[in-house]
């Protein structure tokens, strides 16, 4: 079962398919190619697939990082045509058909390339806000937000003035999309129920959670009726929702909306993403957030052998009178599948197929036992939507162990109001990117 051909070296006889990214798009692409007679190399800079829809639960101390991750090579262990390469891609040379790695400056040649390197939260001209207002994309982001959230209460407990204490007990979330809503919706209950008995000098029930949205309403991707239901729900839970509130400045101890100053020591960023910088190395047009404008078959202009899937792809739907395909997990899965199928078609000399997004629905959890669901024809909210949300997320999690563990943690949290993962560990940075001391 061990191939003799080295990665990125030696003579290559079988066709080489390279996939960049082990998220929803890349992993689905690899799995779709499971029976192809080719050498598939899946590259990722982490060793795990991350179930991003539940990342906010790591940030809120409900789930452990290991609950929502699974090693990519473990997921693909039985797929013998596929090898996994842990490393960071620096650039793609579409002319020479080579992927350049950071690791030892390796070059990995390809006949077909599927790029699904995802996106990262972005500050759009305000990069100085990043250390002050961390975003939520990677597992380390989840740990970092958890750390700041828990640490704020520790510091409030040690405060010597009321103003300092109140600032530590005020949490501001910037961005009213699903991430901002799910993150802010989880915080008040934890503060009021789980943490309240543990402190002696502060009353955690006075915690303020403020959700700031620049646009006129939260959850713009949802129908108006569900979004306003969500807004009411958030209010009842204890989140102060403020729309048309554009953040103009973030400082160490405050957020500004124009002239208005909100004293806070903890700000989280959920206001926007930018595509992986790999897109910019392809030499094809990208949009404002770095997404690659793909052809209808997901290939890039002039290079049918290079396809893009997931958050990195800008798939227009102007002909249908709709906005571009959204950057959500189901879209990434569908794009990954189509990209892989088109590679198979190209290998067989067949014409490629056009990608069509089938929107199966949108879901967002709002705190404990509430959610909103938009399944196109059917829209519902409340406890039923929440149960639907739970079931779907458990179903789509990879691996029996993870499903069982998440189920148990949720039952524990539901019945006890406690949170199981309340350890404050150090600021983390991305896995492989941190050189092993001493550096190789």
């Amino acid at each position: 079962m061990h191939r003799t051909v080295g990665i990125g070296g030696a003579t290559l006889k079988r066709r080489q398919i390279v996939i960049i990214g082990g998220g929803f798009g890349g992993l689905t692409a690899a799995q779709t190619l499971r029976n192809v007679d080719a050498d598939i190399t899946l590259i990722d800079r982490t060793n795990y697939h991350l179930f991003q829809p539940l990342l906010y639960q790591v940030a809120t101390a409900s789930l452990a990082p290991s609950d929502i991750t699974a090693p990519i090579r473990w997921i693909l262990r039985r797929q013998l045509n596929t090898t996994v390469f842990l490393g960071e891609v620096r650039s793609v040379d579409v002319a020479r058909k080579i992927v350049r790695m950071d690791y030892e400056n390796r070059e990995i040649p390809y006949d077909f390339l599927i790029i699904a390197a995802g996106s990262r939260h972005a500050y759009f001209g305000h990069d100085q806000w990043e250390p002050l207002a961390p975003g939520l994309k990677a597992i380390e982001d989840g740990s970092e937000i958890r750390r700041r959230f828990l640490l704020a209460f520790e510091r409030a407990e040690k405060s010597t003035t009321e103003a300092e204490r109140d600032a530590y007990l005020t949490f501001v979330i910037v961005g009213g999309g699903p991430t901002g809503v799910e993150l802010s919706g989880a915080l008040p209950t934890i503060a009021r129920k789980a943490l309240y008995p543990d402190f002696r000098h502060i009353d955690t029930r006075t915690t303020r959670v403020i959700l700031l949205e620049g646009g006129p309403r939260i959850l713009p991707s949802f129908p108006e009726s569900l979004a306003s239901k969500a807004c009411r729900d958030l209010g009842e839970i204890g989140v102060e929702v403020r729309t048309s509130s554009v953040v103009t400045r973030i400082e160490r101890d405050a957020v500004y909306i124009g002239d208005e100053r909100i004293s806070t020591r903890t700000v989280f960023w959920a206001a926007g993403n930018a595509a992986s910088p790999i897109g910019a190395t392809l030499g094809v047009p990208t949009d404002r957030v770095g997404r690659v404008r793909v052809e209808p078959d997901l290939s890039i202009p002039g290079h049918p052998e290079v396809l893009v899937a997931g958050d990195m792809a800008l798939v227009e739907r102007k002909a249908e009178g709709k906005p571009p395909v959204p950057g959500v997990a189901p879209a990434a899965n569908q794009e990954g599948r189509t990209a892989a199928r088109n590679v198979m078609r190209l290998m067989r000399g067949q014409p490629t197929e056009t990608f069509r997004y089938r929107n199966k629905g949108d879901l967002a959890a709002i705190g404990r036992s509430r959610a909103i669901a938009d399944l196109g024809k059917v829209r519902f909210s409340g406890r039923l939507a929440w149960f639907f949300w739970l079931t779907l997320h458990i179903m789509y999690l990879v691996g029996f162990r993870n499903r069982l563990s998440v189920l148990l943690q949720w039952m524990y949290a539901y019945f006890t109001y406690q949170r199981g993962v309340r350890l404050i560990t150090a600021a983390e940075r991305r896995g492989e990117l941190v050189p092993q001391p001493p550096p190789d």
Copy 2:
């Protein structure tokens, strides 16, 4: 329930008991004082109690950090005379009866002080080895060893030469005490069973695990018969045990025993501990590893109001013809209890009691389904000892959630041979010690 007296400030009427450390010694001391009419402040630099006996299972990807930790303030939430202070102690001024903190240079006054700040792995004159051979004491150490262990296989998979590959597949553990034995005993099975199907370019069954012990035999704290049983077991599992092998040099890609060079990229340190540096600030005699030489009642010479418990205390037993009390969890628990009782006696004006260590037994797990147990009169090994080991560790874990989670992970690992926590995250450092960016 919220006290109006600020930490380290304001007028103090009730007597102030300060406990440094939320490990076994400090936590037991706090719990023993639960009904005392005094203000108790427990200081720790992390927000959690760590169940150290299972830390090697975090290092070997079997358990998640959250499985073996519980927030100290959560454990003590119902003990209303006790407040928890997250922070690092810089020094103790026994003359002024004050604990100096790093946090805002705070000073915390005490009437009675129990110091149980534990120990840290130490390199005894070879501090330059620390980055090359991490030890296993804090939760971040566990994550770091896990990271290096898993990363070594990733790098082996990408190796371009056989020598490089073999070096990445060689793991050296320095130190044949219980930690070294438990750590090394877990690695071969993981490499051979859990990881084997996942790799394409390497055969993980060729992994070498070498345990180096400087003394004439491993597990010197155990009876000779059990130690040699453990040694045979380790050999059968696939650990190369080498006694009388003193490490003389560690480099980026090799370990030296005198002139002999062992090519390896991954070395773990389990060869010794040094007590917390807080002991050195007390102005009383300490031993070679920084332990405080305590009086029979665990107080320090000249200061009956200052008591030391756990790994930091050097409790001689010369009168009994025995070596000093060992630095194990049961000893720390017993010392914490006696220290707390002696504080209560001092408060009542009674004479203090002498500490007597009751050794209930020693246990060490050796890989999958083997262990050794020395219960004094009874000694046994094999599967029964392993089952005994499992039961005891589950019983002593804090919190229902942790127990259930650990039990499930163990069942999963036992039946599938898989390891559930295989994510490689960044090098971590200690919680509160890393300044929150931007620094306060």
